[in-house]
Subunit: 344 residues, 4 copies
């Protein structure tokens, strides 16, 4: 904790700040300069708000020194976390794992076809939603339990892992038998009740960045999972909301290296939600590999024009196959490789 | 649905769009101009994505005509909704209801004192959190059931109603006996599982705008509640996230008249979260009344410097009392009045 | 300057930071805590970038202590600046000055009519653009010198002052004889060449906040004017760009009290550009008075439906007259009054 | 122009809209649906504001059909523009041109050393500012004419082209003899006076996207140049302002393919300003090549720790050399190549 006093702040104001810090258990180091007095507080507590001090008379500014997240911090664990799921390893090595599939599970035929295409192109994980968060209550809401069974069967038929979104802790029991990675969507990134439940689970969680979340906010949400004892956390950049309307979201690719510097957790890029437009998915997927993403999450649908959700941002199977070939070349150029699928 | 074809788009592309619209049940009106062909589709379905059409060959742009929300739309119900809770009426008349109290219920003494102060200054509703959504897992998380009991008792002792935040549907059973208005926080505005549960409840819900939510998003979330059968919905502007860092959020006061034009639901302003700084709460509360807010939600704490959460944005009791006096004058200047409390 | 070293940073890294600070002329105060070492530097220079230090090995974070603006800072001049133009005083007292008129000067008849209406409703300053910054090169660009003459004549006929926008220093000679207040538009807020020229002028300047400008950016641009010797500066909030599309801009009304706390310069609110929609101008003008703005800038056109620019956000004359009556009531409620016009 | 009437709008309101459109020279196509009447207007004018119509009684929404920019539109010129400067070709082919150098020209020794390093690593264009737009009036403002001479001499000694920023039309005469590409900075993207002057110049212009500029805004500013007769325009993505503070700006890499789809003008990526942090420049430069940028603009300084401006985002010479090697590999992976320098 650092408190900078205003120029000419009277001694009693400085003393009031010191008293308050001491009452909270801080040890104070005081530096008196020509213009400013600076108080450095080292203390036992992190659950205070620097703004509390900024509003005290005579205080110019206050800064928290200690990062509000600890377990997610790279200083806590300098080497990168490896999330290992039945031998598919995300993070830590030279392999980039591709997860792909439709936005929603719509029918047995659809997800079976998708799984075959995803596997044939060399991806390792099948995505597909069974519970869908939709802005409108009138939009397709997913097949729920039936969707999960279809998803698992399709993945198993092609040696793929399964990732699917959990929206509410009440869905967990239903999902756990079928899913290898639990996805938390952008709109639930600060659903702290859900995060607490997932902290108690022993399955990997892919945590998507919220539309208005800073990277510190994302790491604080990850901290909920880690502090609950679940260390298998993947961070996912999927675009933030800005004033630009040409794309559904603005994908912040610099988040990938920033997160990798701040945290030991693997970072996944989602160019489908990051752009919201099929024609931009391939270039942004290529850029994601070039910037250093450790995994990719891509929407592909056997027939995007008939998709019940996210059709506009889903690749056609042929586009996905071609993209995978491009990604292999770029991965090689940056000293990585796309994790080979079992069937490719 | 409107589809504008590109200049020079060949007839077969136009025909493909028409075929697709017809297959979705639309009736098509075609206008052929010198440069552009325009297709107007009138149809039975609203759960499609205009972007699906924008990505078709030859299409320049596509627009949805029908608003994606219906029940929340003012055209659905031209006169304003009045939420009447034991005689406290929000919306529809010339009274502005003030809700105030601490961020969190911390102890019996604290909430009892707060309730007395809130009532003495003329507010009608006591706010206080029992379950707290906190960015950090290490911050104070609320007193839960014990907090609810204290809150109810404090409110009852002073003839106040109770508003408190629900974070998860699992908390509902615990809350319903104690709470008059259920608050959905900004971070849960698109927690659709929670919204569906609340649609089935017969208690008023105050729905806060998310940090990255457009007003259309907010109205779509309200639509979840209304379409579930719960018509007692209050919309709340509490600041959005922008690049400005001088305030915690940027309070979008123009949202108040915009929402009142788009929807029949009453609009509440929360200048405490809207600014995040105590010294800005009073001016922005005054502006909220001047702009036409039908209710205000204000954080006040018997001793903000000792508050376990949101201290920096909580008013001192004396500040709150003075603010109420100012609000009465401004309300009068705009032809309204502050709903008189029982004790004031 | 404050530099916080990382936990466990070796002494040689700390020493490197000290050496660099000393080489820049800083005196160093060192606090060694249990986990962090903090260096407080007091120095002669402000033109350094804290990020230079943050990128040094072992450094956790670096903060500038001294505000980058000085002359605009309220600590430099605790009492508020009063800009006095021929007896019309903005800032410092209990009067709110209203400036109104069309976006552009379009013809003699138009501006004469506008001036009469503006004066009749009690405003003190006539606005009207002679040089128009337009996003599209195909839009109306203003009447230039001819427009200035018409504007001045119309104002003089009704005892009004004149405000008009300068886009380029080459326009200054033409403008100075006709204009009482020079307006710098949002898109030129960081046109530093123009700001330097205006710093040498001895006429009041109204400086509009840029669409992506923080309040600190705005004050730094004001500093260009003040450091050039022009102390008659008005700051103007006119909306920033956010993700919300229901309004053309998001008017950040909290900027008014924040700027008044940070700086001694008077603050003007522009609800016309702040919202971009005629139906929102009145409520936001009312809120601007309630929040404490010291002047208002409002677009009014004798016939908005025929306006060559900004028609959608221009009030009809009758709307403006009614609004002025409302503003008088609200001003009274907050202990101020609308500066009476000569004709009203 | 498309106007959608509200449900149940009376015929006289529809007629009023038709009358107004006709008075503006539009031909009207009317479609009457079950719920909505749609008016399609084809007209001679583009300088109207759709909001003018949205505010008319009975109107639900209004859309402009024709893009507000024409000459910059890819439909105007389907093949990509090639900007050819003494044989260095940007756009149109399979070569990516790298421009590099310090933020500011500081001294003869500095820029000579920089030019040698830039050339040795294989870049084709030397960047260096002689006039510097600085947020603070107290920061280094550039060497002006003397800087231009040094820059030209350094470039000539190593067979490089020169790019430098113009801030004001008064600087043009001084710059033209020394500079091959005129750069317009982000803060001047909507300085329309400057754009008009540059439209009359016959030198290539690199136009940077403003911090709050949509891609449509950027193309409208390019339209100022093109409509003035200057067709040699390069568009540059350099980051926009968002709520994220981990980076100085948020680099919107998806802007590259979007601009290439909307326009025929070549697109340049600037990862130095795009991130503001040296450690992020290399990953984002790699991503820029992978996403399809046709040129890169990178800050490199012989000694970034001593730089007078933008030190934190400037690469060390060795970092730049290594980055160029990486870019060559990635370019190859996407079927392009880095344009070979004369000395490399």
């Amino acid at each position: 904790m650092l408190v900078v006093m205003q120029e000419g702040a009277p001694e009693q104001q400085t003393q009031a700040v010191i008293d308050r810090l001491v009452s909270l258990g801080f040890t104070i180091h005081r530096s008196t300069g020509v213009r400013h007095t600076i108080l450095g507080g080292v203390g036992p507590r992190d659950d205070f708000d620097p703004l509390d001090f900024e509003l005290m008379p005579g205080v110019k500014e206050a800064h928290r020194i200690v990062s509000p997240y600890k377990l997610a911090n790279r200083t806590f664990q300098p080497e990168g976390t490896v999330v290992d799921i039945n031998g598919v390893r995300i993070g830590g090595g030279d392999e980039i794992v591709v997860m792909a599939g439709p936005c929603s599970v719509e029918s047995e035929a659809q997800i079976m076809t998708a799984a075959a295409q995803v596997a044939a192109s060399g991806a390792r994980v099948l995505r597909g939603g069974a519970f869908k968060p939709r802005s409108s209550p009138y939009a397709f809401q997913g097949l729920a339990g039936e969707g999960l069974k279809l998803l698992r069967a399709a993945a198993d038929a092609h040696g793929l892992l399964v990732i699917s979104e959990v929206m509410d802790s009440s869905q967990l029991d239903l999902m756990l038998p079928y899913v290898d990675i639990l996805q938390v969507g952008a709109r639930n990134m600060q659903n702290f009740s859900l995060l607490k439940e997932l902290g108690a689970v022993r399955k990997p969680v892919l945590l998507k960045r919220g539309l208005a979340a800073t990277l510190e906010d994302l790491l604080l949400s990850a901290e909920y999972l880690l502090s609950g004892g679940n260390y298998q956390v993947l961070l996912c950049e999927r675009g933030i909301r800005t004033f630009e309307t040409a794309t559904r979201n603005t994908m912040d690719l610099s988040a990938v290296p920033v997160l990798q510097k701040l945290s030991h957790l693997p970072v996944v890029a989602d160019p489908s939600h990051g752009t919201g437009r099929r024609d931009l998915v391939a270039p942004m997927a290529r850029a994601s590999v070039a910037v250093g993403a450790q995994a990719l999450l891509i929407e592909m649908h056997p027939d995007p024009t008939a998709a019940l959700s996210d059709g506009p941002q889903s690749l056609f199977p042929q586009q996905f196959a071609e993209l995978m070939d491009q990604l292999r070349l770029i991965a090689q150029a940056v000293g990585m490789r796309i994790a080979p699928g079992r069937e490719a």
